[in-house]
Structure formats: structure tokens, C-alpha cells
Amino acid sequence: MNREEENGNELFGKEDLLQKRIAELEAENIKLKKDEEQNRRTLTHLDFLTRYANDIIILLDENFNFIEVNERVVDVYGYTRQELIGMNAIRLRAPEARTSFKEQTAIAPSGRNLFETIHQHKNGRQFPVEISLRVFESGGKKYYQAIIRDISERKKIEKALRESELKYRTLFETAREAIVILKEGRCVDCNTGALEMYGYSSKDVVGTDIFKFAPPVQPDGRDSREKGLDLIRKAIAGEPQFFEWENIRGNGTQFTAEINMTRVEIEGETLVLAVARDIAERKRTEAILRQSEERLRSILWNVPVGVCIAKDRVFVSANKCWCDMFGYPEDAIRGRKTRMMYENDEEHERVGRELYADLRGKGKKSVETRHMRKDGSMRNVVVSVVPLSTSDLPGGETLSIVTDITERKQYEAELEKYRKHLEDMVRIRTSELRESNEQLGAIFEAATSGIVLVRDRIVVRCNRRMDEIFGYAPGEMVGHTTRQWYGDENSYREIGEETFYCITHDRTFFREQKLVRKDGSFFWGRMTGRAMDKSDPSKGLVGLIEDITEEKEAAESLKTALARAESADRMKSAFLATMSHELRTPLNSIIGFTGMLLQGLAGPLNDEQATQLRMVKDSGRHLRALINDVLDISKIEAGELEIAPEKFDLRECVQTVIQTVSPLAGKKQILLNSNISPDIGAVVSDQQRVAQILLNLLSNAVKFTDQGEVALTVELAGDQVIISVSDTGIGIKNEDLDKLFKPFRQIDTGLTRQYEGTGLGLAICKRLVEKLGGNITVKSEWGKGSKFQFTLPYCSERRI
């Protein structure tokens, strides 16, 4: 139709060519008619095509006003065709979508544009559309063709899809498990859980080799890569894999995970989805549980208490102690009936009845019975039963604790025996004690001393003698203070302090004290006291009181006598001293003046005068010797002999004595031989006394020897000096040897006149020697001679 108008216009411009063109037009008219026919047909076809298309097809002018629409638009927008023709396309848009109209519809002249927008039904319902806009020109005019498609359904599906994907992504990301998508051995994607579990901070692990996150070898010994790839292959083949896997974190630590691998199809690719769960915690809990169970089992097995587990009176197991107790090997009792432990059915049933009946109630009880060992011997036992589970009694397992009380039973029996024995002993002892007590009571009463028990200075008990001593009626003193015993407060207090000290220090109190009888008279009492129980002074003291008045009086008189004797002794000593002095003073004159006269100091003497004076002098010397001897022996008898030790030369001392004696020996024509050992030197002793002894022995020897010799030897023997004087004199009869050293006993008094002397010499010698720490001995043969020998301790240094 448009083309027809076009052709008409051309015809109006060219009049000169009209004729020529008529023919052509005629021809063309025919052709046109044909074309028109053709066109009409085409239009009809097009009309069909457009009218009934599912899409909306619209023809717009250059200002986007509707020129033509197909039928579908009426359905979609609710406007009639008449309403739509001439209406601007913008009016189909939802108000909020209108602003973008210009922009969306601006297209390059030859271009085509595809865009989405929101359209609105006549009734206001909005819906998304996709518009395909095309521009073309015809007859110098610009036309638009728009094909509009309602995409509500598609949008809905898209939204659903988006939501679904978000949901899954969220699930994927928020899952606590590590989720990893694998393609062969590589990580294609993973979630936050995986990053956290493996200790990586970002998704840079994506694309890496997953075996980087595993140790080289798995616990079963297989190579991680080999095993992993094998598992992945199996998963891809359609078998989901569930396994435990050792992993290594980014920081190098290792952990065990449980991994679930399944095949997934993503965008046409076959991948593997691996979900890993860290089971370290579970493993640890399991290990603790296992350990705890192990420990319990070990404890149960090792406790030194017999334990067995049974079900329906059939043994399940028993511990070591139980097995040892009854002599069974550890594995020999499972499945055997508990009946084997009992002597007979009755006992087995009784124990079962009592134990299990009660189990239902309190759930615990002990029964005493007898168990048979494997070797047939019987043991006394106590069996306690505890149900292992409270649910299905009596069908459940029970735990029995078995205690062997055989020995305890024996001990009990023995203990009983001992107890009886002890009772007997106590009975016997009690009667013994009673008897002993009676005896003691009798002794207590019969004692000749007063016996009293005092506590806190109060008489608790006393015997009859005590009452007698103090002159009280029997029992009268009991309960009374001991103050009444003492004459004054001072004694009472003093004795109180003393006895307290004694009983608290485990000492015996002793005192002689003037005491007062009931009638006020005094007597001397000897008091002895001791703590009743030294570990507990509060139990008081046992006192003993004796009346020692007579004893005291006797002692008094004795003391007087002694004092008198001592005084006499002192007087004797004083007398001796005076006598000694008084006797010596005249002797001094006699010996002195005769000596001087004999020396011719007062002038020459004739022979007769000299002889007589010599006699006076000898008598004087003899008298001096007598006085000295008497004095010495008196002192010795009185124990007053004095020793003055000093260091002196023994050799010199001996030689001096020899010189003194030699004139006498010479006069009697007796040989005086001396032999002093060369090692004799200084000694510590009383020189004067040693000389006295020696002089005595030598002058005796010379005196009693008429012919032959007197020999003196001095020698050292160990720590002693031995001095011997032997002679060839008259000797001493055997029977007289004993009397020799006793004072006033000169042998054979008939000889006194022949051998002058006091008879005190040897007695003095013996005492002196002893006093000097030696001893004197004599050997003699009557008529042949004697040998006197004395010793002196040899000490060259003064020690005394």
C-alpha cells in the first residue's frame, strides 16, 4: 500500500512522459495488480504471523506512537486496539520506569536494541518485559518495531535460582565442617570452615595441590597422595567415601579428620565434594574414655580384694586376687557355674537367696559363707554383691567382692582363747593380790615403825604403831592435819617445803625431828618419806616415823664420850710434845757438854775422865734413841707419823749410814760390805726416815752378829729399789718371825741385857717402810743369820 502511493507521486511530476508512461502503467498496472494480489496475500500471512504471535509486536512512528499492534497486546495490557493506536509507547511503562525511556530507546540508525523494563497493565498491575527494538525507514519516514515479551516467569525463576544459590552458598560458607571441592588432586573451592580448620586466612589455597595439607604417609602406612587419589577415583566412580585422614595445618600441626567424599556435577563438570570434620576432640575423648576404662579394668584386676563378675550365677570373669584366692587359673572360670564354689546345693541356694533377694531392695549386702578352693579345701569368706546395672535384675551382671576371713576367724578363735586365759589369769592375780594385800595389811599393822599415808598434809591412813608413837587412839589421827605433830609453826612449814621438794623430785625425805605427842610431851622421831607414786606427786607420800628418843640419847652420850676421848687424845699429843721437849732439853746439855768436853774444847782430860765421859755420852745417846723410838711409835700408833718426801741422793744417804755404823762394826771386827748398784741415784722419799730404817737394820745386824759379815746391797728392780741387809748373826727362830715387827717385843727378853734396845726398832721400821710405799720382809735361820729386805718406790721426780 505504501509502495502504491509512492508510485502515484512519481507519476504526478512527469506530464510529458504521460503517454509513454500510460502504456508502461497499464502494463505495470497489470503487474501491480498481480503484486497487489501478491501483497495482499503476504499481508494476510503477516497479519496471521503477527496477530497470533505469543510475543507482542508493535509498530511505532518516529515519536513512539503506536501505528499498529498485534492481538496479543490486548491480552497483555488490557487496552483495546483502538485505544492503543496513536498512544505513545511510554504510557505502557510503569511510572518509575518512564525516566529511562529516552535512554533505552535511543539507538544507532541501523541498530537494534534489547532492553528490559517494567510495563503496566491498564489495571495497574506491573510486570517485567524484555523489549527488542528495531528502527527502519520507509518513504523517508522513521519507524520503530518493538517486540515485547513478558518475562515475569523468567524473572521469577531467575530470582528463585538466585535465592537458591545464595542459600547453598551460605550453607557452604557457614558449615562448621571443612568443605572442599576437588578436581582430581586440586582444590577448586573451599569454605571458611576449611580455611579455619586448616589454618589459612584466605582463599589463596584454591587451586593448590591438596596433598600439601597432609603428611607424606597416612597412619596405615600408605602414601598420602596415592591413597588420596585412589579414594577420589572411587568417589568419582560413584561410591561415596568415608574415611579418617591425617592432615597438616598451615602452622605445621597435625590433626585427624573424618572425611566424606561424594561425586558432584557442577556446570557439567564431574567434581568431588569433600567434607572434613576435625575429630581430634572426639579422638581425645575416646582416648580418655579408653584410658579410664583401662585404668578401671587394671584397678579391678589388681586390687588385693577378690572380685568376680557373674550373670545368672554363671561366672563371667574374676580378678587376679580372686583367682589366687581360690587357686584357679585366670581364664578357667568363665562360663562355669558359681555352684562350684559351694559345698552343697543348700548353701549355694541360701547365699543366692539372701544376696539376690536383697539386691532388689537395697542393692547391696554381704553374706558370710564358705567357698571351696580348686584343691577342695574350704575358706571362710564374706561375699558382697553389687549389681553392675540397675535395669534388668535379676538377669543382669553382678559384681561380687569376696573377702577371705579364714585367718581372721582363726584369730578370733585364738583371741577368744586368750581372752579366756587372760580372764583366768586376772582371776588368779586378783586373788593373789587380795592375799598379798591382806599380807601387806598385816605387815602394815605389825610394823614396829609408824607408817602413815599423808596427802595435802592430812593423815589419810596410818598403822597402829603410828597411833601408839603419838599416843592417839587407833584411827584418831586420820583426817587430821600433821600440824599437831610439830611443836612450832616453823618446823611444820620447813618440813612441808622439804617433803614437797622430795616428792616432786623423786627423793627420799629424811629428817630427825623433835615431835609432840597427844599429851604434849616431846620425843625424837626419825622421819622418812617418799612419794606414793613418783609419777604423780598428788597421790601424796608414804611416811615412816620411828621413835628414836633412846637412840638419840645413846648417841648424845656417845658424842660426849667421843669428845672426851678426843680431848684426851689431844692432851696426850700435847703431853708427848711437852715430854719430848722437856726430855730433850736436859739431854741437850748432857750430850752437848760431854761431847764438847771429849773434844777437849774445855781443856785436856786424863784417860779415866775421858772414859767416864764417853760412858755418859753413850748413855745420853741411848736415852735419846729411846726417847725418839718411844715418840715415833706413839705417833705411829696415833696415826700421826709424818712423812716429808723430797728429792735426795740415795747413794749418798746409804753411804752416810754405813759410815755411822762402820765404827761399831770395826770394833766388833765384823766385815761390813756394801754393794750399791751403779744405777742408783736420786730418789724422792723421806731421806731422814730412809736413813732411820737403814740405820736401824744395819745397827741391828751389827749388834746381833759376833763374827762374819754384814752385807748391804742396793739394787733397782723395775720401779722399786730393793735394799737388803744380811748378816751371819744369831738368826731368828721360825716361831718368832711373826712377832718380829710387833712393838715392845724384843726377841728373847733374856738377851735384852746383852743387846740393848727398846725392841721398838723393827716395829717402827715396818711402819715407816709401809708409809713410804714399800714393804719389809725377813728370812732367817736360827744360828746362821738373817736377811732383812725392804723396798722403796723408785721415783726420781718429786710427785707428792
Partner: protein, 123 residues
Amino acid sequence: MKGNILLIEDNEQNLYLTTFLLKKNDYSVVQAKSGPEGIAEAIRMVPDLIILDIQLPQMDGYAVAGELRNNRTLKNVPIVAVTSYAMVGDRERALAAGCNGYIEKPIDPDTFIGQIEKFLKAR
């Protein structure tokens, strides 16, 4: 003259005897008949030796010896006691009182001078 000797002795006979014996043996003798007199003489003359009888009236020989020893000028003068050994400890007492030695009574003219010389030498 062998030396000056002070003789303290109350008994006339002994005084005479000892003086005679000493003088005959070339000693010069000064006599004192009591302890106090002896002490006074000793201080006055400072003798070479003092012979002191222990049994003196009033003040005995021990006391006299003690006094003499307390005098510094007499420090080195030997004192010889003459004792009769009547009581226990006589000798010890004599030595303790300050005597250098003792001679037993009665004196023996045969040995007496020898003993005196010994003490003089030891001085």
C-alpha cells in the same frame, strides 16, 4: 772469824752450850732470849745466820721466822730451826714459816758445826 751468828734460845743451858760450841769453832755469837728480842737484834746486826729455837715462850719460833722473813734486809739470811719433833708437821711448819733448814734436838757437838757450815755455804 767465820761469821756472825744470831742465836735465839730461851733455855740458859742450851744458850750457853751452843754459844760455847760456836765460839770455840771461831764464830761470833749474839744471843737473844726471846722472839721479839731476836727480831730486834737481827734487824740491828743483820747476821750471817740465825739459829732459832722453835719452843720459845710468848712468841714461838714459827712466828719469829715469819717476822724475820718479812723484813727485806734479812731476806738472804739463812734461818736454821732447832726442833724436838714433838708435833705433827713441825718440820713443814718450820720450812713454811721461812726457815732454811732444821737441826734436831738435842744437838750433837760431833755433827752440829758441820750442819751449820753447810747452811752458811749454801747462802
